[in-house]
């Protein structure tokens, strides 16, 4: 790095990611145990295979391979003729066999890319490889942290959950790009139906970050490999969310830049992201580079996958669907983006849009429903079993049984807060659009009670009619249609 670059602070950030995602399969990757462990008692989702009992053998769950092939197609990766598994040997108490079955020289996906946008700008990041492996168990340190605990318990419920490790090229230039990428990756994985973001620990990120001279970044944003080799980088571990990734890397970026501007070298090391303190800490491991002694896992014969790419279909992905929503339903880019943010939202929108007006459906799903849910810190998933009720509410509005305002401000909110169905709320609150006789009577009353306003109306003051409409609305408890009231008043007064 040149002194000039350091002095002027003309530095560029380089980030690459290793993202571990748990694949949503019914059973574990090498045995028939259920992956749906939630908060079940420790070690209840286990068998000889995932406990690594002597003599047990792994048998590949082809569902996990299918999920991996779907990911490969979505990131436009090369899928090899044949895929094989290797053993990664290291000792750790959460690893039942003291080796992890993973992929080494024939990963299921190679050379892909993922497009995403950061603040409206489209960009893309290269995916070097993505491979399948088994998740270890989990450790519970009792009476303190890993260093101070009295003892540690091991839970193998998680052991054998299929993981996909997605390794990007060092194409990120800022922490906010990382955040946008991770959000997009989750979105795509959920669309593929291979990932559940709500599951605890379903996304884990390790990030490599280094700082180089900004002049080394060429016009197309690439950096020479030798420059990256020379730059000292840190590996930040223990990141478990998009926000966490952005925060951890912003911290690490600042820390390294500060060190450089003070003339100190950045040490090549592994650092631990402490989410609660918002800092990264050196793991202080004096270990030399680990030697995992990779070698072929003979218990799993090579699997021919070349034809799978053609045989396994993948659903329409978010980008394509967003574009279709704009052309097919005439939605704005913003509305279409919101409505394709998750597959569930998009599916629900299309369901509503087919029954009613697409614009009305967009307003109700994108603005009203998601807005109210967001306000309550809820997700669409939380009301997935009440889609019928939401659809009924939209129907009430579409058929002008109730006003849009009442539907939004009273019925929808009460549905979410009191868990009542829309028809019950309409009845309880008397929101059904008021009968014509009642409106006519209110119009007569309003005219009789407000001679001054009537006089002003005849004198040509526009505000007077609005005042009278307001009076009628008050008398009908807001359930009259303002346009209709307006017309009735004009008819009566002229």
């Amino acid at each position: 790095m040149t002194a000039k670059a350091v002095e002027s602070g003309d530095l560029a950030t380089v980030i690459g990611l290793e993202v571990h995602v748990q694949l949503e399969t019914e059973t574990k990757i090498f045995c028939g145990c259920s992956t749906d462990v939630e908060d079940d008692e420790p070690n209840t989702h286990t068998c000889p295979v995932c406990l690594g009992l002597p003599g047990a053998l792994p048998v590949l769950n082809e569902g996990a391979v299918e999920a991996a092939v779907k990911i490969g197609k979505a990131i436009d990766a090369d899928i090899p003729e044949e895929t094989t598994f290797h053993r990664k040997n290291y000792y750790y108490p959460d690893l039942p066999k003291n080796f992890q079955i993973t992929q080494y020289d024939a990963p299921i996906c190679q050379d892909g890319e993922l497009e995403f946008s950061v603040e409206g700008q489209r960009t893309s990041v290269g995916i070097r490889r993505a491979h399948l492996e088994e998740d270890p168990g989990s450790l519970q340190h009792k009476g303190g942290s890993i260093d101070t605990a009295d003892y540690t318990l091991v839970d193998y419920n998680r052991a054998g959950t299929p993981l996909m490790e997605i390794v990007t090229r060092p194409d990120f230039r800022s922490p906010d790009e990382v955040r946008a990428f991770l959000a997009k990756l989750e979105e795509v994985l959920e669309y593929l139906g291979v990932f559940d973001a709500t599951r605890d620990g379903s996304l884990r990120v390790d990030a490599n970050l280094s700082i180089v001279d900004a002049e080394e970044v060429s016009g197309d944003g690439t950096i020479d490999a030798s420059v990256l080799e020379d730059a000292n980088r840190t590996e930040v571990k223990n990141i478990s969310s998009h926000k966490g990734a952005e925060k951890a890397l912003a911290y690490e970026e600042t820390r390294q830049k500060n060190a450089i501007s003070r003339g100190r070298a950045v040490e090549q090391e592994t650092r631990h992201w402490d989410e609660s303190k918002g800092i990264t800490l050196s793991m202080r491991s004096k270990e030399e580079e680990k030697d995992y002694r990779y070698f072929r896992e003979a218990d799993l014969p090579p699997l021919r996958v070349s034809h799978w790419k053609d045989e396994i279909p993948i659903p329409e992905l978010p980008d394509a669907r967003r574009e279709r929503f704009q052309s097919e339903y005439g939605l704005s880019d913003e509305a279409a983006s919101k409505l394709t943010s998750t597959k569930q939202v998009a599916d629900f929108y299309e369901d509503v849009a087919e029954q009613f007006d697409p614009d009305l459906a967009a307003t109700w799903v994108a603005d009203n429903l998601l807005g109210e849910l967001n306000y309550r810190d809820m997700l669409l998933t939380d009301v997935a079993d009440r889609f019928d009720e939401v659809t009924r509410l939209v129907e009430l509005v579409a058929e002008e049984e109730i006003t849009a305002k009442n539907a939004r401000e009273t019925v929808l909110r009460s549905m979410l807060d009191d868990e009542l169905d829309p028809d019950t709320i309409v009845e309880q609150e008397g929101l059904g659009k008021t009968g014509e006789d009642e409106v006519a009577a209110a119009v007569t009353e309003a005219i009789e009670e407000n001679p001054d306003a009537v006089e002003d109306f005849h004198a040509g003051e526009d505000g007077a009619l609005n005042f009278l409409v307001g009076q009628v609305m008050q008398k009908t408890g807001g359930s009259a249609d303002p346009g209709q009231v307006n017309q009735l008043l004009r008819d009566e007064l002229t």
Partner: protein, 425 residues
């Protein structure tokens, strides 16, 4: 007198009827039996009780067999004499004061002494054929993938198979019929019927060798003891008299087979045995403190010398900087051995050699010289490298010591070696 054939004597009853009803089967102690301890001949597992049955054990039970006990073996299968067992050596019932061979020495001894009608062994580099030869009984190492390994505690998983040991070829074939065939719990099993074979093994023991073409690899005969080669050639002459003919073949690759075998087997062992860390198996010794030191102590205490030697050498062979020099080279040699055997078998129905180049050793004379012990496997290990089936059948005696003859067949050609062997016994 007891030959110390069993580590655990027990009675596990099978189904009321079936092809093995009324017969007792001794099971090598590295094959998992639910609720009956399975030690692998190691102090590390002296109180390990599996919660599940190996697939072959389920098949024995379904076939009506009664399991008579768990037999002695070299620790984790690592040995050629059954002397590395933590439960003491087994004596050869057919040769007083001699080893029964290994590592399935207990299984062969149980059959030879009549303590069981039949037995199961496992063969990683000769561990069924060697003790069968030394104890004067029949042993079959099946084609890799014919018999499920589910429940077999792994030593070198790319090489080993479970197989039968019996007093006669026909009985060994009957036992093989029971245990052979695909298993959903073992992804490496293959269906013989879809690979040019079938499962009618006992029927193949008809002694009909008229027209049989035997290939004899000179490399596997020339280095054997004189007494052994005499018995071998007498047996070949016997087969000729029954209508078989032979020609000599060359297998230049087998010169490297022992080296390649030990590099691969030890490398795989270093990984397969990693799970024995004192956390869930073996005697953790109640050590407290640092995890690395704790498991190192548990392994130091729990494993015997030969096992530690092989784990260390295997770890070394897989290490960065040495991987290409040892492990990768050994894999290349393995491919070469396979090719040599395929070529030899394209011009012969079976290959024949002495099973062991030497007669059974005296108890206590082999342990101090591991290299010598490894070289005794010269005739058996190439077959495991090539994934082929082989049988050892008694061929006679030299100075009152049993000599075994080995037939090797093409993949899933079990019938051919059973037929050839049945002409001798």
């Amino acid at each position: 007198m007891s030959h110390n054939a069993y580590i655990t004597e027990t009675t596990i009853e099978g189904a009321d009827d079936g092809p093995l009803a009324g017969r007792t089967v001794a099971v090598k102690d590295n094959i998992s039996t639910a609720d009956v301890r399975t030690t692998c001949g190691s102090a590390m597992l002296d109180d390990y009780v599996p919660p599940y049955d190996a697939t072959v054990v389920s098949r024995l039970k379904d076939a009506g067999a009664t399991i008579a006990g768990k037999t002695n073996m070299d620790e984790f299968g690592m040995g050629t004499t059954t002397e590395t067992s933590a439960f003491g050596p087994t004596e050869n019932p057919a040769a007083e004061g001699r080893v029964p061979g290994g590592s399935s020495g207990g299984s062969a001894a149980a059959v030879a002494a009549g303590e069981a009608d039949l037995a199961l062994g496992s063969d990683t580099g000769g561990s069924i054929r060697c003790p069968a030869a030394f104890c004067g009984v029949v042993g079959i190492k099946p084609t890799y993938g014919l018999v499920s390994r589910y429940g077999l505690v792994a030593y070198a998983n790319s090489l080993e198979q479970i197989g039968p040991i019996a007093p006669s070829v026909e009985e060994a074939a009957e036992l093989l019929e029971v245990i052979a065939g695909p298993d959903e719990h073992d992804g490496t099993t293959r269906d013989a019927a879809e690979n040019g074979g079938n499962y009618d093994y006992a029927a193949a023991a008809d002694g009909d060798v008229d027209g049989l073409e035997i290939g004899i690899p000179t490399e596997l005969v020339d280095d054997a003891d004189e007494g052994v080669t005499e018995v071998f050639w007498d047996a070949i002459a016997d087969l000729e008299s029954k209508g078989a003919s032979y020609h000599e073949v060359e297998l230049p690759s087998v010169e490297h087979a022992v080296e390649a075998y030990y590099v691969i087997a030890m490398s795989e062992a270093s990984s397969n045995l990693a799970r024995f860390d004192g956390v869930r198996y073996g005697n953790s010794g109640g050590y407290d403190g640092n995890w690395n030191e704790t498991f190192a102590k548990a392994r130091e205490e729990g494993f015997g010398e030969e096992v530690k030697r092989r784990i260390l050498l295997g770890t070394y062979a897989l290490s960065a900087g040495y991987h290409d020099k040892y492990y990768k080279k050994a894999q290349d040699a393995r491919a070469w051995v396979k090719q040599d055997f395929d070529e030899a078998l394209s011009e012969a129905d079976v290959l024949a050699s002495p099973t062991m180049p030497v007669p059974p050793m005296k108890l206590g004379e082999s342990l101090d010289d591991p290299l010598k012990m490894y070289l005794a496997d010269a005739n058996t290990v190439p077959i495991n490298l090539a994934n082929l089936p082989a049988i050892s059948v008694p061929a006679g005696e030299t100075e009152d010591l049993p000599v075994g003859l080995q037939f090797v067949g093409p993949a899933f050609g079990e019938q051919q070696i059973i037929r050839a062997a049945s002409a001798l016994a």
